[in-house]
């Protein structure tokens, strides 16, 4: 039984077929990258897994659980965290509070104990804050814990979103273009972080990325999408040398610019 199994996932928008019978498997403790030219359907795939969108047909099974039967807010509870291509942060909240939202499920308090500040609430809050601070430390943002999220640079925002995703105690992380807009040193930090997530914390990572250097450097497995169809899959070396992949990228201008990154 696979860790994350995606089988024959299909999604159309109006007349446009965004994903056409795409199948994919992510193993445990694996960094699996999803690449492809713009419009290939990568973010759509993510949105289907995290239940932001409903597929037309297909299956998504995570550790034996059928994800398509669940509401979007139940995904985090299964141990799946995600970041967004557009960086969806809670801008008026502090960094600590942003990460604390990620601790939402693990905080066991009800309205009554919160309203009356009962002992159990205080205990849970304290633990939640400690854990959130720990996560901020992991991404190097603990000094700004009380700053508003809106004041961060793009690189810092992506790191904060990552911290929030890790806060759900995930076994699988869905990262949507985490390196987009980062400079070289930030990108390096990110790759170190992602690797340590796999090695030290045993987290599997499904990664959408345009930055080929990052993809080649850290991936265990790479899948390539084009026009909603999976056209290749294999190790980074195999993909790098695959004629089908090169052709797909040359067809759109992306490959050259990606190689340059």
């Amino acid at each position: 039984m696979g860790f994350l199994e995606i089988a024959n996932l299909t999604k159309s928008f109006g007349g446009l077929v965004a994903l056409n019978k795409v199948s994919l498997e992510v193993a445990q403790r694996q960094i699996h990258s999803l690449i492809g030219p713009n419009g290939a359907g990568k973010s759509t795939l993510f949105n289907l897994i995290s239940r932001t969108l409903k597929p037309d047909s297909g299956r998504v099974v995570f550790q034996g659980r059928d994800l398509l039967a669940l509401a979007p807010s139940r995904i985090a509870g299964l141990g799946i965290g995600r970041t967004f291509q557009s960086v969806e942060l809670f801008n008026d909240m502090t960094l600590l509070e942003n990460v604390l939202v990620g601790r939402h499920i693990s905080l066991r308090t009800g309205p009554i104990s919160a309203a009356l500040r009962l002992g159990r609430f205080r205990d849970q809050e304290r633990r939640g804050r400690e854990k959130a601070l720990e996560l901020l430390r992991l991404v190097g943002l603990e000094k700004n814990q009380d700053q508003r999220a809106s004041g961060l640079s793009l690189g810092q925002k992506r790191l904060l979103e990552l911290a929030r995703a890790i806060a759900v105690d995930p076994q699988l992380l869905l990262l949507d273009e985490p390196a987009s807009g980062l400079n070289d040193s930030e990108t390096r930090e990110l790759t170190v972080l992602i690797r340590s997530l796999r090695d030290q914390y045993g987290v599997s990572i499904l990664l959408v990325e345009h930055n080929m250097r990052v993809v080649m450097e850290i991936s265990d497995q790479v899948s390539v999408l084009n026009h909603g169809v999976k056209i290749a899959e294999g190790s980074p070396e195999e993909i790098n040398n695959s004629p089908a992949v090169i052709e797909a990228y040359l067809g759109s201008q992306d490959y050259a610019s990606c190689q340059g990154n």
Binding site: P72, S73, I75, A76, E88, V101, R103, H104, A114, A115
Partner: protein, 331 residues
Amino acid sequence: MTDALRLRSRILWHLAWLILLAGLLLLAPKLDVYILYVLTIVCLNVILATGLNLVTGYTGQISLCHAGFLGIGAYACPLFMIHCHLPYLLALLLGGLVAGLAGLMVGVPALRVRGLYLAMVTLGFGEIVFLVLHHWQGLTGGPLGLEVPAATIGGLVIEGDLRLFYLFVIAAVVLIIIARNLIDSKIGRAFRAISHSEMAAQASGVDLPTYKTLSFALSALYAGLAGGLYSQLLGYLSPDPFGLNESILYLTMVVVGGMGSVAGPVLGASLLALLPEFLRDFKEYQDFILSAVLLVVILFLPSGIFGLGRSGWAGLRGMIRERGLTGGAGG
């Protein structure tokens, strides 16, 4: 700001509130009856605005029917006292709960529609409540009114401006503290997350239906409790104070004072309760000024006056420069 400084400013802030409160309670017997009345109204508005802020300021949902929840609580409380012979405090609580249930009911369509359509749903609901209060004469007395029995708490009859004032102040303080506790907890954070990005909130495990309806229910509960207190102040109820114009007034308080902060509604409620006093000679201009202020604030000061205090002049200049009209709250 260093930890020590932050702690010190928080202590000072709380100390200021404590002094204000103590001062009010101690000075009260010496105050003019009319001033007591105005301050009592301020407390009433504060409770209502604080509750409304939960759903509007924090969760980003529009409500044009809060005067309706106020009305439900205002009628339910004395009706429980009259027909079920319940003591005042119990009737007050039950009245609040009935309003809270109504809020829950409004919360359900909130899940299906958003933004502008939600505004219309709340508008319709508020009008329905008003008309029911008006027409169900058997229960409410309709336009002829309902006489409210005097409240007794622990043997003490709450009549006279002074005792009413103490009741209102204590209620307001308790409810503000509870609101602040809720906001500074996973519930408040869930509310705020929803208003920023429903997608990201869900991805973090926040269940939208639960928290959206909870925000409506809680804010309606607050309005209902305020209503039960209000009925004591009025002594005689009619449907008039519970219509659309009043709902808009309460929304104005929250917007002008500052959505998304605990002190904002307090500020807004105080300002708007005191405004008629300052404009006593210009009674006709009151409505105009209120509406104009609302328009100016929503266009240029989306975080309200309190937000202005927080970010200061620099923030204001920046906002005007970029015509910061994104509103902040999602739809």
